[in-house]
Symmetry: D2
Subunit: 351 residues, 4 copies
Amino acid sequence: MIKAGIIGATGYAGGELVRLLLGHKEVEIVWYGSKSYVNQRYADVYRNMFQIVDEKCLDDNMEELAQQADVIFTATPQGYCASLINEAILSKTKVVDLSADFRIKDVSVYEKWYGIEHKSPQYIEEAVYGLCEINREDVKRARLVANPGCYTTCSILTAYPLVKQGLIDTDTLIIDAKSGTSGAGRGAKVPNLFCEVNENIKAYGVATHRHTPEIEEQLGYAAGKEIVLNFTPHLVPMNRGILVTAYAKLKKDAQGRLPSCEEIKAVYDRYYGSERFVRVLDQGVCPETKWVEGSNYTDIGFVIDERTERIIMMGALDNLVKGAAGQAVQNMNLMFGLEESEGLAVAPMFP
Amino acid sequence: MIKAGIIGATGYAGGELVRLLLGHKEVEIVWYGSKSYVNQRYADVYRNMFQIVDEKCLDDNMEELAQQADVIFTATPQGYCASLINEAILSKTKVVDLSADFRIKDVSVYEKWYGIEHKSPQYIEEAVYGLCEINREDVKRARLVANPGCYTTCSILTAYPLVKQGLIDTDTLIIDAKSGTSGAGRGAKVPNLFCEVNENIKAYGVATHRHTPEIEEQLGYAAGKEIVLNFTPHLVPMNRGILVTAYAKLKKDAQGRLPSCEEIKAVYDRYYGSERFVRVLDQGVCPETKWVEGSNYTDIGFVIDERTERIIMMGALDNLVKGAAGQAVQNMNLMFGLEESEGLAVAPMFP
Amino acid sequence: MIKAGIIGATGYAGGELVRLLLGHKEVEIVWYGSKSYVNQRYADVYRNMFQIVDEKCLDDNMEELAQQADVIFTATPQGYCASLINEAILSKTKVVDLSADFRIKDVSVYEKWYGIEHKSPQYIEEAVYGLCEINREDVKRARLVANPGCYTTCSILTAYPLVKQGLIDTDTLIIDAKSGTSGAGRGAKVPNLFCEVNENIKAYGVATHRHTPEIEEQLGYAAGKEIVLNFTPHLVPMNRGILVTAYAKLKKDAQGRLPSCEEIKAVYDRYYGSERFVRVLDQGVCPETKWVEGSNYTDIGFVIDERTERIIMMGALDNLVKGAAGQAVQNMNLMFGLEESEGLAVAPMFP
Amino acid sequence: MIKAGIIGATGYAGGELVRLLLGHKEVEIVWYGSKSYVNQRYADVYRNMFQIVDEKCLDDNMEELAQQADVIFTATPQGYCASLINEAILSKTKVVDLSADFRIKDVSVYEKWYGIEHKSPQYIEEAVYGLCEINREDVKRARLVANPGCYTTCSILTAYPLVKQGLIDTDTLIIDAKSGTSGAGRGAKVPNLFCEVNENIKAYGVATHRHTPEIEEQLGYAAGKEIVLNFTPHLVPMNRGILVTAYAKLKKDAQGRLPSCEEIKAVYDRYYGSERFVRVLDQGVCPETKWVEGSNYTDIGFVIDERTERIIMMGALDNLVKGAAGQAVQNMNLMFGLEESEGLAVAPMFP
């Protein structure tokens, strides 16, 4: 049994990690870390876990945790993991960081968008960006994985094959994203109260959201050149789910012809046809967040608009699963040589 | 592998049955029955099952199905199962009926409340009322199980120990129940449209809801006498979940003393302490539907009001799981000698 | 023009008061009081009021406010109004207190249920309980009105005629109430976050909710004797609305006969037939919160269950309107000799 | 008093028209038309109107209605109004058509996108496109007004000033829109059931939605040239509200300089500064649908992204008010020489 420790186990992503790891037959959770609820029973914080989890919440102590755990998940605010990580820890245990600390290779970009100093830039190079479908082999060898953001995972997976194949003009790429409210975390803030979110939709972080440079960097690798794009997140009155609607001009071939639906579909299938957790929908089918709820799937669809010569790419995932905890487990599975889908092979829940 | 067939696989309860059976390691679904979607791919009806279920929907043919399946689940309208069942079928296969056809022992009560003639009353006596926590041994030996209703399961489990122990005055028992909208089914009706249900709560079927006689009959067995009670269902703007709030006068002992919280708690613990799927909450904790969502648990709590000498008993479950498909699987597990929790041992999902 | 001042204008009830008074042709708001947002533009707190309200929020200063305003509304936490009120203020201005400070005549009951000392018990006797349909004439002469609670208004109006007429056994009265989340206020607390409330229902304050003694006192006046009852509030995932489902045994006449539906309906009609804001629904129609949203109406319906000899009385209102701000305006209209429905004559909004 | 008749009074837009006209002091509704509910009491269909509207629903009879009414509102399916309108009717009464029949000047475009033959193309030229803020003077003189679509009103108002001033490159214009579910109407369809919409978001009608040519035509007039753009609607789990997020490249001036925020704000203010129902938000404030709920306002905000040289324009309105019934009343007010805001001067409702 792999011994797993979680720092930040009482946030929504941490809670989802607990739920998923409890259903994982090769893992035992040895540490329910939560600075805010030290010494309280975990099941008193998340009552869904009554009679399932008996442990109490423990204070953060990464040194001690490294002794006890084979893998540490940090589901903590930005800057926290970077401030604690060191060689002693990494020599004893593997780390999957669900924060942004090791996602961006250029430390100045990180510091600019996040507004904080990076406390252990020496590990940025080593850290593997844990988008399994793209970096699978590197994840297998990693001791430090930077688990991608929720919006990021959805945005990248949706656009990646067409960017990589050079089928779209990346200068025209616009990503309009919609997220359920669990993405805003469990902090007690007026804008996240039920009555403020319910019966409402709004954009936020327009042109300034921190997932922007992460998407740009990863799609830039695929394109082989720098990408600058628009990313606009919206808050939707639902608990879970991210939907990405991405727009870009299709490139024409030498004869001035746009690619056909069949050609685009074939490209998606080539990239994802053998992927367990990415489902390329039938032509004309648009993804819906409800169809992936509770699961590790990302559903992808697209429509070509001949009139504007643009393609509308759409992707949907559960922000707490493939967008956070599920992907973290998928990464862990790869790092430990387990079946990639172990603990994640559940069908989405509907309705 | 147990071969399972589902009639009514495209209703919400049928869909949940598919989800649960797919995660059951001893079962294979051999028949996705749906009169309304014959020959359509199941995954085109429920897109969460895309790339998970490849089968098409089949028309109803219980004779043929009895040849192929070891167990048939009927998630069909009232009267349907009773109109099809016969000795030939029951001699070849086991049946778990999710409709009300075999729940009520007195056929005249059934016919009065449901307003239809019962087509196979000869099997009512044999049928076992599949509330596993109460009729476990009988279920093990059954070939025909009447799977309890959603409101019913929640109401009975909540009140049963105190009724059985004679601690409450059953003449004063009032059950006020609240349900998510999936209980209303997937039929296209104006009152179930999003805009009609959202931002709204109402009572319905007041004094006439069909789950009333079922609750009365089962609690009557526990009390050893006839029970007549009030049951009022309400429609709540959420997908899943039933909450029952039940009121009754506590009986006093010979010294005119009310039972204490500790005494009541001890009774609940005695009945449910070793039950996997009934959780008696700590004193003072009220159940919430969210804490059981997606799982087979029923959570139970209570408060004693010394001022009125009443006890307020509360129970919560997921109407599609413990209230329908999960209980059906639990019954199947018992009927086939499997571990009772097989396929059901998942933690509730939050948020 | 009547000059109105609001203390607590940035809570949900205060915000609703602003909305209603802006539509009132005899009133001008001269004071937007909010301790938490002093000096901030009101429309920056509630952006629905952008370009409608230009004023800034003012700190609490009841002495000063009494100079400027003809009427003061206090939409403040319990204890606050009682700590500020005095003869100087009441000699200059009228006060409608939306808190509980002057609702309960027995100060020891107030202090026990609210757990605070009452700072001006000398005004309790004078204060008029502002349930207009019952105390209309007293309200007209009042200088201090205790505006009823939201659950209370709905519960009392629903049961009042039958209690007053002695048609039900008040010892058996049980009130099961369901409320939208705006009733919980705008404070930033984890249990009121969107993800905690959405897709969830729970009871809370069971046997201890502070509206209990208020309901008991008022219905006690109607019955002419002390009433002790059960009141159980529930939190529903919607913004607005309260639904009350109340149960009681019907009394039989000398011939052992239960009252008929027609007789009960006639009683309700007698009490409310000429009331603008109480609608007695047609027989068999159950009230729904959605049908009164945004309006000052209370809808009332009932069902008689011959089997149990109980009546199920149901009432619905908008907790922020008839349950708070609307009733406060109705009281103000009476106090100033205006048309009772002035500023309140709007149809409910659907959907 | 202006006598108003409504055809299609029991759809959501028709119901909203009733609500608004009841609050209009110069109008009396003389005809509640509803083919589906002929002879049923209107208040039995929409119970919010109990004791407010006593009339029964009438069958469609436009000839007769033209005799009785000074203005007819048609809130009916596409093609219906065009099939009934004629000179006799228009000579007796004014018509505000809430369907798409007279919105598009090029009949072949209409017939292609709507897939139906236009039955009275002779009135297309005469009909005035009733976007009051743009065509106010023409509306005043009209006898037939084509009331704009909900998505359309929001999209056009949001982009209009910048298109008209030539500040954006219209070839790059992309409109990503999100709508509450009342926009889907009150028809009983599975995709609009509560459980299908709740906790879900999806795009639909991608590249094919019928509001596309309407937006293109109107913005084309502003630009003085043909515009082809992408328009993608999404279904959001809320009752009311449309949010538009529009993207376009800003044009640079001769010095290669982008316009500043102040310059853009000044343009919006110039166009809308004196408009009662369009609110240009302060810089950096993003519109939210909740802040306009129940009102006739459209809120507009924007962000300039220097990195991509794009502007993100955002607009929010209530699809049933400014997006349908409110705008219809605004048009009627203009047509009859009334105060433009009569019956519409209510503050938005929050929460």
